[in-house]
């Protein structure tokens, strides 16, 4: 029997969103108290979002000594203090705030995504990953044994499994060779420790498992179940024994950094040593999720709504980065990807970029744009955070808090951009989390300045198109074509080409082409 005083979970509600009405007496209340009596509960099934929050609070209160509340939420203006000559700002959040080092891995667990822990050795990266496996119901021993340790001699067989020797000798065809698959492939929480020490060839095999959810040896296929992935590395830039292949890095949805240990919490560490306690071995059963519960949670998170005003701001933000006027002659090819694929020196291409205010344009701060996978991860984690906070729809604050962790290592800064040369922005060269959050803030400021919540003619045209073309008369189609052409004329008049305008113009071109094709079809009837 394990000792349950360590196994107490936070009482519900862990995040009371509204003032509760008077609690109607339930006879079960008589039996609820300091002793955790299984049948003393009220009989209601604990909601999964509440269970997820209880898991979070158990981890931060008992398992991981992580006093950093860096995911800040405020419902009233927070208290702020400027400290020292450098005016370093300390904010005291006014609403429930969280530690990214626990929160993001937990959201990864809830969405079955892929999370990379980065940070120096001995900061609890592996222990945190194992905890997530325990939350999925696996014994600690199984998780430890199933964890893949990256090392320079790791072969594909080490990673995936071996053909049975007897079959290798006796088989008349490849189909007859049976494979002894490694057990971790069938688990719903997968841990790859020090993934940047895996040789490149083995990384490719790992990529197939991570990306396509199957493993292949000698033409034999093992279909893996959907799983949450946790990878650890001492360096998120892909350093280590081997360079991490870019496709593998791109499969990672979020990156969290193990922040430094605050020596003020040394007594906690000391007590843990003296008590000889391993938190991962003491996870209370109340916060362990069954497979069905995780399935349900994934589905529930998918159902969280993204309201249109929030979605528009995400669109506007994402529009800022890909456009690169100097990279292409044809409109569609004016992108950073075109420049990158050309292999022309970045500085050389940038020097040809003129006509825009390079300080104001936040697109100039990056050397790349956002991929579809990045956007999907951003939406998925924003939904998950909203779910975790007990809301039904995503708020801009949710997006603001997940963006840095999703785009870390995805949106790469151009440190030669004018933005970084300003003294007040020099800190963003090293603090990528704050830089990415600042990027979103700047994008939102521009969105507000342009008053796009109320004045979005491209959005109106898109909405009209979304109603469908069926039954649309030729006159109406022509009127819409004229409207699109007029709008492009207005947009182009005297304005410089910024990322959001570029995407608006491409959308208008798309609409124009769809109406043009429809018109041709109408005429052919």
């Amino acid at each position: 029997m394990v000792f349950k005083s360590f196994k107490r979970v936070s009482k519900s509600p862990t995040n009371p969103n509204s003032k509760p009405r008077t609690h109607e007496f339930d006879v079960a209340d008589l039996f609820v108290g300091p002793i955790n009596v299984p049948s003393g509960q009220t009989g209601e099934t604990l909601k999964l979002d509440e269970k997820l929050r209880q898991a979070y609070f158990w981890i931060v209160n008992n398992a991981i000594i992580s006093p950093h509340y860096d995911v800040e939420f405020n419902d009233t203006p927070p208290q702020q203090f400027d400290i020292g000559g450098g005016r370093s700002r300390l904010t005291l959040p006014s609403a429930q705030s969280y530690s990214s080092y626990v929160l993001l891995p937990l959201l990864t667990f809830a969405t079955r995504s892929k999370c990379l822990f980065v940070g120096g050795p001995g900061r609890g990266k592996t222990a945190s990953a194992i905890l997530m496996g325990v939350l999925a119901g696996y014994p600690v021993k199984d998780m430890r044994r199933a964890m893949q340790h990256g090392q320079p001699q790791m072969t594909i067989s080490d990673l995936l499994g071996n053909p049975l020797p007897a079959d290798l000798v006796a088989a008349q065809s490849m189909d007859e060779i049976r494979i002894a698959w490694r057990s971790w492939l069938g688990m719903r929480v997968k841990i790859i420790d020090e993934y940047n020490r895996i040789p490149t060839r083995t990384q490719s095999a790992l990529l197939t498992v991570m990306g396509d959810n199957y493993a292949e040896i000698l033409n034999q296929i093992f279909e893996c179940p959907d799983a949450a992935w946790y990878l650890t590395a001492n360096d998120d830039q892909g350093g280590g024994t081997y360079q991490v292949i870019e496709a593998l890095r791109d499969r990672i949805d979020v990156i969290v950094q193990a922040l430094s240990f605050n020596p003020r919490f040394l007594s906690d560490l000391l007590q843990r040593i003296e008590a000889n306690v391993r938190p991962e071995e003491l996870v209370p059963k109340e916060i362990i999720f069954t497979e069905a519960e995780i399935d349900q949670m994934v589905a529930d998170i998918r159902d969280i709504a993204v309201p249109e005003p929030v979605r528009r701001r995400i669109e506007f933000f994402a529009s800022q980065f890909e456009m690169f006027e100097a990279a292409g002659e044809q409109f569609e090819y004016m992108t950073k990807d075109t420049a990158r694929l050309s292999r022309v020196e970045w500085a050389q291409v940038v020097s040809a970029d003129q006509g825009r205010d390079r300080l104001k344009d936040i697109g100039t701060q990056t050397v790349n744009g956002l991929s579809v996978r990045n956007l999907m991860a951003m939406l998925k984690f924003a939904k998950a955070l909203s779910y975790f906070r007990g809301a039904n729809e995503v708020s801009l604050d949710d997006v603001r808090q997940v963006v840095p962790f999703v785009l870390n290592d995805k949106l790469r800064p151009d440190h030669d951009a004018p933005f970084f040369s300003l003294p007040e922005n020099a800190v963003f060269r090293t603090d990528k989390i704050s830089w990415l959050r600042r990027l979103l803030d700047l994008s939102n400021e521009e969105y507000d300045r342009l008053d796009l919540d109320r004045n979005d003619p491209v959005g109106e045209l898109s909405a009209a198109f979304a109603l469908g073309l069926d039954g649309l008369k030729e006159r109406e189609v022509r009127a819409r074509l004229v409207k699109i052409e007029r709008l492009i004329g207005q947009q182009a008049k005297g304005r410089k080409l910024y990322g959001h305008l570029y995407d608006d113009l491409l959308k208008l071109k798309y609409l124009h082409q769809r109406y043009t094709n429809y018109l041709l079809w109408l005429k052919a009837q």
């Binding site: 029997m1 000792f3 349950k4 005083s5 360590f6 107490r8 003032k19 509760p20 009405r21 008077t22 007496f25 006879v27 209340d29 008589l30 039996f31 609820v32 108290g33 300091p34 002793i35 955790n36 009596v37 299984p38 049948s39 003393g40 008992n62 007590q271 843990r272 003296e274 008590a275 000889n276 306690v277 003491l282």
Partner: protein, 328 residues
């Protein structure tokens, strides 16, 4: 303090496990008093282990682990032991638990754990008479033979000891218990049919057997600074299922019946959204000299619903609750 041999053997056999529990409690509760815990083990837990050992020596070690773990939790939270916030949990472990080994052997958590939880609930309810509650349990619980019966009994004796707010749940629980147990729990009938008591009790909140005479009602409330619930003399409103009280910016529900009266906090919305009912005829005919009020006679306020009359005063933090039949 000396510990019995069976308990010593159990502690020795799983020494590391028990030590780990204490270490973990020290980890999570910086003020954990190991001496207080040792005393609690020696005085309360040991007696229970001995009682259990006598009935089923083979399962005693298993039960002892559950008891030890509960004890660690309770002492760590200052719910038991010498630093206990109130004595009721200690008394449950000392006076009731050693007499119910048959229930603890079924499931220590579901029996003693549930009893302990109820003790913390009861001690937080100013209207529930703790001594009555404990006496009833001590007398009746040894006669039970299932956890389900224990839960029903706890509900009934909590009601009987003044928990008027759980009246409906208790009536339902009473219907699930053997009649001799219910008779003991509610105090009557001693010799008659149980249905002759439960039916009128369900129909009339102030019913008492004729031989006991009519209920004289209850005095409840009090100033918050002296342990009562009200910061100011309360204003009362009769609603269809009882009474609400407003005191300064705080709101309360009053539940009363023949066994007692309880004041519980509610939200402002409950006060604002509840429709007042009134029984003015009763109030007009009320003669204050017929009852002992313990409050100044001037400016008395009367409030009544179909079964009960409540008397309050702008000069008192107390409320007098009376059955209507006691009104001439």
């Amino acid at each position: 303090m000396s510990i019995s041999q069976p308990f010593v053997d159990i502690l020795s056999a799983r020494r590391q496990t028990f030590n780990n529990m204490v270490s973990t409690a020290r980890l999570n509760h910086t003020g954990f008093d190991t001496e207080a815990f040792s005393n609690f083990l020696g005085e309360e837990v040991d007696a229970i282990v001995q009682a259990v050992f006598k009935v089923d020596p083979g399962r005693a070690h298993h039960i002892a682990e559950d008891l030890f773990e509960m004890a660690v939790n309770l002492v760590a939270q200052n719910r038991a032991g010498k630093h206990a916030q109130d004595g009721l949990v200690n008394r449950i472990w000392r006076e009731v638990a050693p007499n119910i080994p048959q229930l603890i052997l079924i499931d220590a958590l579901e029996s003693l754990g549930a009893l302990t939880n109820t003790a913390t609930y009861v001690s937080g309810q100013s209207g529930v008479r703790n001594n009555d509650w404990l006496d009833l349990l001590r007398g009746i619980a040894p006669r039970l033979n299932s956890i389900e019966q224990l839960r029903h009994l706890v509900t009934v004796v909590t009601w009987r000891s003044g928990g008027a707010h759980i009246r409906n749940a208790a009536l339902k629980a009473a219907s699930e218990l053997p009649s001799e147990i219910v008779s003991l729990a509610i105090g009557y009938p001693k010799n008659g049919k149980l249905s002759e008591s439960l039916v009128p009790l369900a129909a009339d909140i102030w019913w008492t057997p004729g031989r006991l005479g009519p209920s004289q009602g209850h005095t409840i409330g009090g100033f918050v600074g002296l342990g009562g619930p009200f910061p100011m003399p309360p204003e009362i409103k009769a609603v269809y299922d009882g009474f609400l009280a407003r005191s300064d910016d705080q709101y309360f529900r009053l539940s009363a019946d023949v066994f007692g009266a309880v004041v519980q906090s509610v939200q402002a919305e409950d006060w604002e959204e509840s429709q007042a009912v009134s029984a003015h005829d009763t109030v007009k005919t009320f003669d204050v000299t017929t009852v002992s009020l313990n409050m100044p006679d001037e400016d008395l306020k009367f409030c009544a619903n179909s079964s009960t009359i409540v008397i309050s005063s702008p000069h008192s933090h107390y409320i007098r609750v009376l059955p209507r039949r006691s009104v001439p």
